[in-house]
């Protein structure tokens, strides 16, 4: 799989279709985000699978936004899994990236990762290597829904209170780009106070991610307190889907029901 991708990337670079390819490199014994340039060796090129599939994923789209802001005339290539591509579609919709300035190079995730992520679309449309892996069911959300309200409330309260307010969930999130973040708005979240106000902090973020979160799970992996953030956002996404028929990043050019005026269709 990786050889096919490398060849494809090498082609894009030599044909000067892109100014650089944002991917991952194995260096110093670690996996790091890297911008590959024309003429550079693709020797360390990696997909971010170390001990297990997808265990060294990085928010490349976040870096892509930084690069595109600095070089708006350039076109960049970027390595994408299904969730990364959903992120791209979301960032096009939210005017953070320009579609014709991005060339995604996609590959699919293996079935075990799809299951671990409970992923709805574990492959991108721009599939360069791999097969379309099957999507997985939302088991954990269903399990949680099976509990009564009081138990769910206790569960989430016990989770939220563990928060150390590192803001890592926001900082790692490829879909968080606001200049003024609500989680720093003093009327909602008191500055310097710990523990955070439960559940305001986490529900504010969940609400703000409702039409943005592309379910990549990076926040969950970055949380030092092991709060199951992804589960929370999956539930929010499920509500968006059942009530509005919308899933962030699933289809290109889809508009968010939260930014449309008038009655729902």
């Amino acid at each position: 799989m990786i050889e096919t991708i490398k060849q494809h990337v090498a082609g894009l670079l030599t044909e000067k279709k892109i100014a650089g390819f944002l991917g991952l490199i194995e260096k110093n014994g670690h996996v790091a985000p890297h911008l590959f340039k024309d003429g550079e060796s693709l020797a360390g090129f990696t997909l971010g699978d170390r001990k297990t599939a997808g265990d060294a994923r990085y928010p490349l789209n976040k870096t892509l936004v930084t690069l595109s802001r600095a070089y708006p005339e350039e076109t960049f290539g970027v390595l994408v899994r299904g969730c990364d591509e959903r992120g791209l579609y979301g960032l096009f919709r939210l005017n953070q990236l320009t579609e014709d300035r991005v060339i995604p190079v996609g590959f699919s995730c293996p079935a075990e990762l799809s299951e671990a992520c409970e992923c709805r679309k574990p492959y991108p449309d721009s599939l360069v290597a791999g097969e379309k892996t099957e999507s997985s069911q939302l088991k954990k959300v269903a399990e949680m829904d099976g509990k009564d309200l009081a138990r769910r409330f206790d569960f989430w309260t016990a989770q939220f209170v563990k928060c150390v307010k590192c803001y890592g969930c926001r900082d790692v999130c490829p879909m968080c780009f606001c200049k003024e973040c609500s989680l720093e708005c003093e009327d909602l979240v008191a500055k310097g106070d710990l523990p955070v106000e439960v559940p305001v902090f986490h529900l504010t973020r969940a609400m703000h991610m409702a039409d943005r979160c592309v379910d990549c799970g990076l926040c969950d992996e970055a949380c030092p307190s092991d709060i199951p953030l992804r589960l929370l956002y999956k539930k929010t996404a499920q509500i968006m889907d059942t009530d509005y028929g919308f899933t962030s990043g699933l289809n290109k050019n889809e508009r968010s029901p939260l930014s449309q005026m008038g009655p729902a269709k």
Partner: protein, 135 residues
């Protein structure tokens, strides 16, 4: 266009979390926790996440400050060290070693911390040694 990620260790506390400092054309743009680091496994505290912000900040102290006539002014290291040595000598001569204390740092090496406590105990004669990482 030069985009780089530099693997390094957090300077804030003794945990030693690893992260990438992201730079674009020589300017720091972001901190990304290293997912493969056995120390922090892709997680950071709030200070670590913002570590890139102080390095190129205008308000960062780059020279020692000495209070002169009630105002803090920038001085050269030579002057700052000479002043500190003079005052240490004067205070300890008058009131003994326990009249001063030493604040070590989690941001320096083990060896430097060793030296500081040795200096405090052997040269000045006090056990008043503490550090910034008493978390």
């Amino acid at each position: 266009m030069e985009y780089k990620t530099t693997l390094t260790t957090c300077t804030y506390c003794g945990c030693g979390c690893n992260f990438y400092l992201e730079t674009l054309d020589g300017k720091l743009t972001n901190t990304i926790p290293c997912k493969t680091s056995p120390v922090n496994e892709g997680k950071l505290c709030i200070k670590g996440w913002n570590v890139h912000q102080f390095v190129q900040n205008d308000r960062r102290l780059k020279k020692p400050l000495l209070r002169k006539g009630g105002e803090l002014v920038e001085v050269e290291w030579e002057e700052a060290l000479a002043y500190t040595a003079d005052r240490l000598k004067a205070v300890t001569a008058e009131k003994g070693g326990d009249a001063v204390g030493f604040l070590a740092s989690a941001k320096v090496t083990n060896e430097e911390n060793y030296l500081l406590q040795k200096f405090a105990r052997a040269a000045i004669g006090t056990n008043n040694v503490d550090h910034c990482a008493r978390l």
